[in-house]
């Protein structure tokens, strides 16, 4: 590969990683893994008004993601990534838990979504 081709390739790679000024950034994607018997991560920090997509996956068995105070609930089927979009409207701490009985550690399988006020 010539020096010029290498430079072109690096420029192309940078373009795919860096945000393009003036273009909407889109929702923030947060991967969440529901494994026996914990969510990873079990704390999710977002801002009021921020567009977020939780990418839910479960490597072992059927799980559920439920945050009733935020109106969120979704089955998480093994072998599939499930996208759960939401935009929090108020600040606070909102508990989420697994609502599909998944085994001996099910009842301790929970976490919290921390919503903070948007920066001025």
């Amino acid at each position: 590969m010539s020096r010029i081709e290498r430079r072109r390739l690096m420029a192309l790679a940078l373009l795919t990683v860096l945000p393009v000024p003036g273009r909407a950034a889109g929702p923030r994607v947060i991967p969440v893994v529901a494994k026996k018997f914990a969510f990873v991560p079990d704390q999710i920090h977002v801002s009021v008004g921020e567009e977020v997509v939780l990418e839910l996956s479960a490597p072992e068995v059927l799980m559920g993601f439920s945050a009733p105070e935020l109106g969120l609930r979704q089955d998480i089927v093994p072998g599939r990534v499930t996208r759960l979009p939401f935009t929090p409207q108020k600040a606070g701490q909102f508990v989420f838990s697994c609502d599909v009985f998944c085994g001996s550690g099910h009842e301790g399988m929970d976490g919290v979504i921390v919503v903070v006020a948007a920066a001025a």
Binding site: G64, S66, V95, S97, D99, F101
Partner: protein, 292 residues
């Protein structure tokens, strides 16, 4: 059987009777004593549990059996509203726990025993092991002119009763006279008591909608390890105490962790109840596992 009021007087004098909660339609007062009887509800025995919330986990259920057998008059029947065993991921151990539980409660001196699963018994295998020991997970029976319905809202790990069972329920209700007193036994609450703690039934509102046309419906359930009373319209819902550890009041703290065992007051918060039919109403009397 001794008269209802005599038996309650005995409980009072023996220091056993707790708060009596009355529930039901009283507009039919004056009926004959033929429908006066009582049953006992036990719940959430979690056989196989081990841990600090109950240092006498293997002794509590036998003590409860002894306490029921010591009642002055035998109940007409006894119902266990689920979580007979504590969950295990091992199918062999699940069956061992179900077998041990069945053997222990076999010592109850009663004409009729009714069971249903909790999610700890049935959610991991769709109720397969439970059925091997105790039969169907939902069914109905009649007793002294009343209709009793056992609903399964636990074999589905997602806590639904499901289309098929709701169709069965609708058909069963269709065959009842509107004025027939109906009692529903479930494990989970049918209404949204605390969804963040999984204290709800996903299609519970649809079940309640099926029951609403019937004026005399009462629901007894377990799952939440404490006494709790709520009305949805004219339907009363009464949850029972556990026989393993109590849980905090709904939504009172971030997590539904068991309340700590108090060595100064062992077995506090545990117990069972008598449910008595008298003058077309239900009288609930809470009883402890052991005398204070």
């Amino acid at each position: 059987m001794a008269s209802s009021s005599n038996r309650r007087e005995f409980l009072r004098l023996a220091g056993l009777g707790g708060v009596v909660f009355a529930s039901g339609c009283t507009g039919m007062a004056g009926r004959s004593a033929a429908d006066d009887f009582y049953f006992v509800q036990l719940s959430d025995t979690h056989w196989g549990f081990e841990g600090a919330p109950n240092p006498d986990a293997r002794g509590t259920l036998p003590k409860a059996v002894a306490a029921v057998n010591a009642l002055a008059d035998a109940p007409d029947f006894i119902v266990f509203t689920g979580d007979l065993t504590h969950t295990t991921d091992d199918p062999v151990q699940r069956r061992q726990r179900l077998r041990e539980f069945r053997d222990i409660v076999g010592a109850l001196k009663v004409r009729s025993l009714h069971f249903m699963p909790g999610e700890h018994d049935a959610a991991l295998d769709g109720g397969e092991a439970y059925r091997e020991f105790f039969g169907p997970t939902h069914y109905a029976f009649d007793h002294r002119g009343m209709h009793f319905i056992v609903l399964d809202n636990v074999s589905d790990p997602g806590a639904s009763v499901g289309d098929a069972q709701r169709a069965w329920l609708a058909d069963d209700l269709e065959r009842q006279a509107r004025e027939t007193p109906i009692v529903v036994f479930t494990h989970r609450p049918l209404f949204d008591l605390a969804p963040a703690w999984d204290w709800a039934t996903r299609d519970g509102a649809q079940v309640i909608a099926l029951l609403m046309p019937y004026p005399n419906v009462t629901v007894f359930y377990g799952h939440i390890h404490q006494e709790h009373h709520v009305m949805t319209g004219h339907i009363a819902h009464h949850s029972a105490k556990s026989l393993i550890f109590p849980l905090p009041a709904p939504g009172s703290q971030p997590r539904r962790t068991p309340l700590a065992w108090d060595p100064a007051q062992p077995y506090r918060g545990l117990g069972f109840r008598e449910v008595e039919r008298e003058r077309a109403a239900w009288q609930i009397t809470e009883l402890p596992v052991v005398k204070a």
